[in-house]
């Protein structure tokens, strides 16, 4: 069976996978990182979003073998080692941007990339359009948009330091 070597949340792993194993299956089933979720089978819902080499990617639409040699961050790796929440996680909590929590890991990972890649600011329209690949059935998106807008200055102030 083929092998894939990748770094996940700072830890290197070498894992045997089948050619058809999806990255999300590798994460959930082989590495026990069940924070990344599967919500659909047509690559629409975004519950599976992780970062590969810093960019948000739907892990249901990546084969595990494609991730060979990459560095992956999942929701479990977002907070600091001492448990301090990432500003995006803080703002989601502050603004009640989650209810059942199932879409949340993918939503947060998408949001972090969205904010990181727009250092000069995000309009409300840009935030809403940036979330096109993430479905939420509980919140109506209103508070998610608020949380992301609130996280922007916190994330870019940190980067500026």
């Amino acid at each position: 069976m083929p092998q894939v070597t990748l770094t996940v949340n700072g830890q290197q792993h070498t894992v045997e996978v089948e050619g058809r194993t999806l990255l999300v299956e590798l994460l959930r089933e082989k590495l026990g990182l069940t924070g990344t979720h599967v919500g659909c089978d047509t690559s629409q819902c975004g519950a599976c979003v992780v970062h590969i080499d810093g960019l948000s990617v739907k892990s249901c639409t990546q084969l595990a073998l494609q991730a060979d040699g990459t560095s992956i961050t999942t929701i479990e790796g977002l907070a600091a080692a001492d448990g301090t929440l990432h500003p995006m996680q803080e703002m989601f909590r502050e603004h009640h941007a989650l209810q059942c929590g199932f879409c949340t890991p993918g939503m947060v990972m998408t949001a972090v990339d969205l904010v990181q890649s727009h250092p000069h600011g995000l309009t409300e329209k840009e935030i809403r359009e940036g979330l096109e690949g993430n479905l939420c059935r509980c919140t109506g998106y209103h508070n998610i948009v608020k949380a992301i807008a609130a996280a922007h200055p916190l994330m870019h102030a940190e980067a500026a330091e």
Partner: protein, 793 residues
């Protein structure tokens, strides 16, 4: 720390684990030695099963067992039961055909489960399932309501003539017909309430486990009500006694009603685990969810209102066809009857009402309650009809509503359709909504939009609903087969912290926080010292779960009663410790005080004394500080309010853009304003989804065309406008909290507000009515076919 009791927008305790990827959803759970189940489903809507050959599948790599319907039938396993029996207008009971766990003899809808493969991996099970050969004889099928009731329509169930499950009425037809005959005018409207798919983001999942040494079964399942599943599956399907069956609903990723029901897959994995003597795990793929989760809505109605010359409503007459799908799901018969027709007074003082509902079987997925469950159907009908009355008579839409409101001094108000409303102030929610939505300035906005080539419209809906489900004796007399009380066990620990064991279940509603706030309020224990436990039948005595906006109104009331018992016992203990008379003991802010003195004991002092009863009235009082209360509500609760939607339509494309949405709701006492807003926002998004985007579409032969997120339009962030959400509350008069519930109001009031806005935007095209969803294609076609007419004028 700040105020954390009732009324505080406390941030949620459950958030940190969800935000850190440490939620414990059913598919996250893995049991040692587990096998995986894959369900082979019917790929056709209606067929006789002549034979099933599982030989090749059984020998496929990794496969342990393959089971089909005849294997299950041979073991005396019952069919999936229905929890509510409706009677026909002649008094006879509804048709209740058998709903087998795996199909026997026939398949009746695309997605009907036929076989299960148990293997050492999901892939192995799925591959093997493709090797199962089924010899079918296709039968004619019927998917939509009007086809299903037409003479000569194919019969979904042998012996159920005309596909009629029941023919039910409420009200006196002769009286109503008399009012209509003498009325100044009758306004008629035909409408469809579109079929929806709930699509919670977490697909359904179930793990069955069997302990070979104790003979105990455990089912982990994505359920809103684990005790109900234990009852239905244990007593009626698998015949496992309650004490040998534990059901655990861990973190559940949304439900909206679709996770209430006992589903075949739960019985399959539980039974199979006992057969193969290893845990058996199943998780739906999303396109599998589309053809196996209960769908919602799907009514076709004719509505008529008799009015006088001033637009006062004299009588309402309705006929409705309601789709049950191929089999009766757990609540299904109640949804278009007691959760729909009894709401047809709405906020209006219409004196007489008659409604006839025919529930119909079709070759489609079973239909059952989905957020609002009957009340969105009633509200949509009423609020579209009221706007049609305004359209036909030229009367003002708002004034027409005001004129017919039940006045604020008329409560308790007995409607002509069984329900008695306890409190409400419809004039106030209307007034505030009109203000917040800028109703007065709308025509200016319409003119400005016209200059940009856009059609702008505004729509209003004034509504109420009935929830806080439900008074047991009342629903029992109406055909419910279960009680609908709730249970709370409040355990004060020796060192003063509190655990709440509740029979409700949180799948997004934030109960770990909001129910804890009730304890902060009544016992004065800090929030971080209160833990809420739910979802495990081994930990919680009994309960009926979460749906029908009942957790606070019914579950919270049970907690209040249990805490009353804690305080009463605590006073006796404190009296002993303080050497005072119990009548002189007061309790406030976590402290028992001798009235008029500064002599006091904290709840912690009292609880420690109770568990270490050395200085204790042991002759009169058992040790411990742990009380349980059951609460059976005296009535439904009646939240409601006013929703206003504003839309802009691009006539070139037909695309409807939501520009504003305003909700002002009366939800009774608010425990956490932030949570209430979140519930209304989420409900409104689902209502906008129903109004503009969503439709579960079958072709006439029963093939599910909208079978995945590719074809079923879920609302996205850029489809939902900023939402203005506010409350103007009147207290519920019959529960100790005064809470009415807020979980469903968003989805109930919003669809007609949106459609009323779309019709308003299209008024220059002479549009009186259109049905949901108001997709771009539908609107574009309406505009196109109206234009030659307009050019001719």
């Amino acid at each position: 720390m700040g105020f954390e009791g009732i009324g505080a927008s406390v941030r949620r305790k459950e958030d940190v684990r969800f935000l850190s990827g440490r939620g414990n959803y059913t598919d996250d759970i893995n049991r040692p030695g587990q096998l995986h189940a894959y369900i082979k489903r019917a790929d056709r809507p209606h067929a006789r099963i002549n034979g099933i050959d599982t030989a090749a599948a059984a020998k496929a790599p990794g496969v342990v067992r393959v089971f089909i319907g005849t294997d299950i039938a041979a073991e005396n396993i019952g069919g999936i039961p229905c929890g509510w029996q409706i009677h026909n207008k002649d008094g006879s009971p509804m048709a209740e055909p058998m709903h087998p766990v795996l199909a026997v003899g026939k398949v009746r809808h695309v997605g009907d489960p036929v076989a299960v493969v148990i293997a050492d991996s999901r892939q192995a099970a799925k591959n093997a399932a493709e090797l199962i050969e089924i010899d079918y004889t296709d039968l004619p099928a019927v998917a939509n309501l009007t086809d299903a009731v037409a003479p000569g329509a194919p019969e979904v169930h042998d012996g159920v003539a005309g596909n009629l499950c029941y023919d039910w009425v409420i009200g006196d037809k002769a009286v109503v017909d008399g009012v209509f005959a003498n009325a100044h005018r009758v306004v008629k409207l035909e409408l469809t309430n579109n079929r929806l798919i709930p699509n919670a983001m977490e697909p359904r999942s179930a793990i069955g486990d069997y302990d070979t040494s104790s003979g105990d079964y455990t089912l982990y399942t994505t359920s809103q009500n684990p005790h109900v599943i234990r009852l239905l599956m244990g007593a009626f399907v698998l015949h496992i006694p309650e004490n040998k069956l534990r059901v655990v609903a861990p973190d559940v990723g949304g439900g909206f009603g679709s996770k209430i029901y006992h589903y075949a897959e739960e019985a399959i994995v539980t039974w199979a685990a006992g057969k193969v003597r290893r845990p058996v795990k199943w998780t739906a793929e999303r396109s599998e969810s589309f053809m196996s989760d209960a769908h919602g809505r799907d009514h076709v109605s004719t509505a008529e209102m008799a009015i006088d010359a001033d637009g006062v409503f004299l009588g309402l007459r309705i006929t409705t066809l309601a789709n049950m799908g191929a089999y009766l799901s757990t609540f299904a018969p109640a949804v278009p009857t007691y959760l729909y027709a009894t709401l047809l007074a709405g906020v209006y003082k219409t004196p007489v009402i008659y409604c006839n509902v025919k529930a119909v079987f079709t070759n489609t997925v079973p239909v059952d309650a989905y957020r609002g469950a009957g009340r969105p159907e009633a509200t949509y009908l009423l609020e579209r009809l009221v706007d049609a009355i305004a359209y036909d008579t030229g009367m003002d839409k708002v004034e027409l509503r005001r004129r017919n409101f039940i006045p604020a001094d008329a409560f308790p108000y007995q409607t002509p359709v069984a329900l008695q409303y306890d409190s409400g102030d419809y004039q106030t929610t209307l007034k505030v909504a009109l203000q917040n939505a800028g109703w007065e300035g709308f025509e200016g906005r319409r003119a400005e939009a016209k200059k940009r080539g856009k059609l702008r419209g505004i729509g209003i809906s004034t509504y109420l609903e009935a929830c806080g489900i439900a008074p047991s004796a009342v629903v029992g007399s109406l055909g419910a087969r279960a009680g609908l009380y709730e249970v709370a066990n409040i355990r004060v620990h020796p060192t003063g912290s509190v655990t709440v064991f509740t029979g409700t279940h949180s799948h997004g509603q934030g109960h770990e926080t909001t129910l804890a706030q009730l304890v902060v309020d009544q016992l004065g224990v800090p929030l971080d010292q209160v833990e809420v436990v739910h979802g495990d039948t081994a930990k919680i005595p009994f309960g009926m779960g979460t749906y029908g906006s009942r957790s606070l109104a019914v579950g919270g009331s049970a907690m209040v009663k249990a805490m009353d018992k804690i305080i009463a016992k605590g006073k006796k203990i404190a009296a002993h410790l303080l050497e005072a008379s119990v009548q002189d003991i007061e309790f406030k802010d976590n402290t028992f005080t001798v009235a008029g003195t500064d002599r006091s004991k904290t709840l912690t002092d009292v609880s420690l004394a109770a568990y270490v009863p050395h200085n204790y009235p042991i002759e009169e009082l058992e040790p411990g500080l742990d009380e349980t209360a059951f609460y059976d509500p005296k009535n439904f609760t009646f939240p409601g309010g006013c929703h206003i939607a504003e839309v802009e339509i691009d006539p070139e494309t037909g695309v409807v853009e939501m520009v504003n949405f305003t909700a002002v709701d009366d939800v009774g006492r608010v425990v956490n304003p932030m949570i209430v807003e979140g519930q209304v926002q989420g409900g409104v998004a689902q209502g906008i989804g129903q109004a503009l985007f969503e439709s579960a579409i079958y072709d006439p032969d029963g093939q599910l065309l909208s079978g995945s997120f590719m074809d079923y339009t879920m609302p996205r962030a850029n489809d939902i406008p900023p939402l203005s959400v506010a409350t103007e509350n009147t207290m519920c008069t019959h529960n100790p909290l005064g809470s009415k519930g807020c979980g469903e109001v968003g989805a109930i009031g919003s669809p007609p507000a949106v459609i009323n806005a779309v019709v308003d935007a299209l008024k220059e095209y002479g549009v009186r009515h259109l049905d949901m969803p108001a997709t771009a294609g539908k609107i574009w076609s309406i505009i196109q076919s109206a234009q030659p007419r307009m050019a001719a004028e």
